[in-house]
């Protein structure tokens, strides 16, 4: 039930954003997440943006995962 999907913010009007995910355009409520701008990616759950999702964070996350097995291999 805690499924959330990344969506791109296309426009913002008050607390409501028009967002796009996988080619579908829908609305997301921004009232529980501060500082969202047009062009940002957000995680949408139950019609609300609950967290941001930044490209650079995704790259850093991938590196963190790769570091994990590299470090373990080095320990052997």
């Amino acid at each position: 039930m805690c499924l959330a999907i990344p969506a791109k913010v296309l426009s913002i009007q008050g607390d409501i954003a028009k967002v796009e995910a996988g080619g579908c355009v829908t609305t997301a409520d921004l009232s529980v997440l501060l500082g969202v701008k047009v062009g940002d990616y957000v995680m949408v759950h139950a019609g609300f943006a609950i967290q941001k999702y930044a490209e650079e964070e995704a790259l850093a996350n991938l590196e963190l995962i790769r570091d994990l097995y590299r470090t373990i291999a080095d320990h052997e």
Binding site: M1, N61, Y69, I72, A73
Partner: protein, 361 residues
């Protein structure tokens, strides 16, 4: 960045190798996931089949509709049968049986039960109807900010025909109760990614106090393998800590604005987890300020009493004490088409996952 990067087979193979190496230095370990989406993805991706024999993945109470008390469902279903009453509910809850009936059954009998994907849709429903609308506010921390925001909108607009029947449950207090049960022997937790996006890593301090490590884990193949790998690494090093392997979505502090909103609207309370028992401070109730919009006050609804269908072992499954396949009803009297207990009904229930993806002969 698309999710293909987090499902890259080469990196996945390296993680599986690292997991095998670490497992050789450990006795049997039991890692519990407490998120229905993890349960389904572990099954769908075949993660169990990639793990060494001494690394066991067990599913905990990670599906909020599975732990919603049967009495809650019965109370709402009964109310739905009254003229002029409309129920707005997440689809996840629609087919879950109470002791007497499910929402699907009362809808078939003519009751007005509408499936909504957001609490905002419940607001819209109330705006365009004159009858009473009751919204079933269930879910973990991922969902709670959304219902809290909707409750605030409701009070600002003064929509007096909408009320919430709240059965939210909180994950960190539940983990603490599970750890207090020594018969479960949990070596470590794969912590739920989207609950953590709200509560942050700091919410799991109780784990560390009890000497059990946890890793905040995402939902793609590399996330799940990295979560397992990181947990094994902590166990090998005998390090008790909460690590974050889902940094692209979970900042250390979680979502402070959402946490403030939850506090503004709800108070913690003791709560029944279906089939498992009452856990202290593991649920939420509306603060007195919102009493006028509380369905339990408006209609005198109660969700007390705890009954399970005869022969159903969902309670033991939810605690990870037995595997779904070990329930005598599994796959025979209880199937997704004809479910007996909540873990088989919910699309994210442990039994539904085991039925769909398990190695049944």
């Amino acid at each position: 960045m698309n999710s293909a990067a987090f499902n890259d087979p080469t990196t996945a193979r390296s993680l599986v190798e690292a997991i095998s190496r670490l497992a050789k230095r450990l006795p049997e370990v039991r890692l519990m996931e407490v998120c229905g989406t993890h349960t389904m993805e572990i099954g769908r991706l075949g993660i169990r089949q990639l793990l060494p024999e001494n690394v066991r993945l067990i599913s905990g109470p990670g599906c909020p509709v599975c732990v919603t008390p049967a009495a809650y469902i019965d109370a709402v279903a009964e109310l739905a049968l009254f003229e002029g009453v409309r129920i707005a509910t997440f689809g996840d809850l629609f087919r879950v049986p109470g002791v007497r009936r499910s929402f699907a059954q009362v809808k078939a009998a003519g009751a007005a039960v509408e499936i909504v994907t957001s609490p905002r849709a419940a607001l819209e429903l109330a705006r365009k109807t004159h009858g009473e609308v009751i919204f079933t506010a269930v879910g973990f921390e991922t969902t709670i900010p959304a219902t809290a925001a909707a409750m605030k909108t409701l009070t600002v607009e003064g929509l007096d025909n909408l009320s919430f029947f709240v059965a939210h449950r909180l994950v960190p207090p539940a983990l603490d109760v599970l750890l207090a049960d020594p018969s479960l022997c949990i070596s470590g937790f794969l912590l739920p990614g989207h609950v953590s996006a709200i509560v942050g890593a700091g919410a799991y301090g109780a784990l560390v106090k009890r000497g059990v490590p946890g890793v905040i884990t995402g939902f793609d193949a590399l996330d799940l393998l990295a979560g397992i790998c990181c947990l094994l690494d902590l166990l090998v090093k005998k390090e008790v800590a909460v690590k974050n392997e889902y940094t692209r979505v979970v900042p250390p502090q979680g979502n402070p604005a959402a946490l403030r909103l939850i506090e503004e609207v709800y108070d913690p309370c003791d709560a029944v987890w279906r089939g498992i028992g009452t856990f202290p401070e593991s649920g939420l109730r509306l603060r007195p300020h919102f009493a006028a919009y509380d369905a339990s006050v408006r209609f005198g609804l109660k969700a007390t009493g705890e009954e399970m269908p005869a022969g159903c072992s969902c309670g033991s499954v939810l605690k990870g004490m037995i595997l779904p396949e070990q329930c005598p009803l599994f796959g025979t009297a209880c199937t997704p088409e004809n479910p007996v207990g909540p873990c088989m009904v919910s699309s994210e229930g442990s039994c539904a996952a085991a039925f769909k993806y398990g190695d049944r002969q």
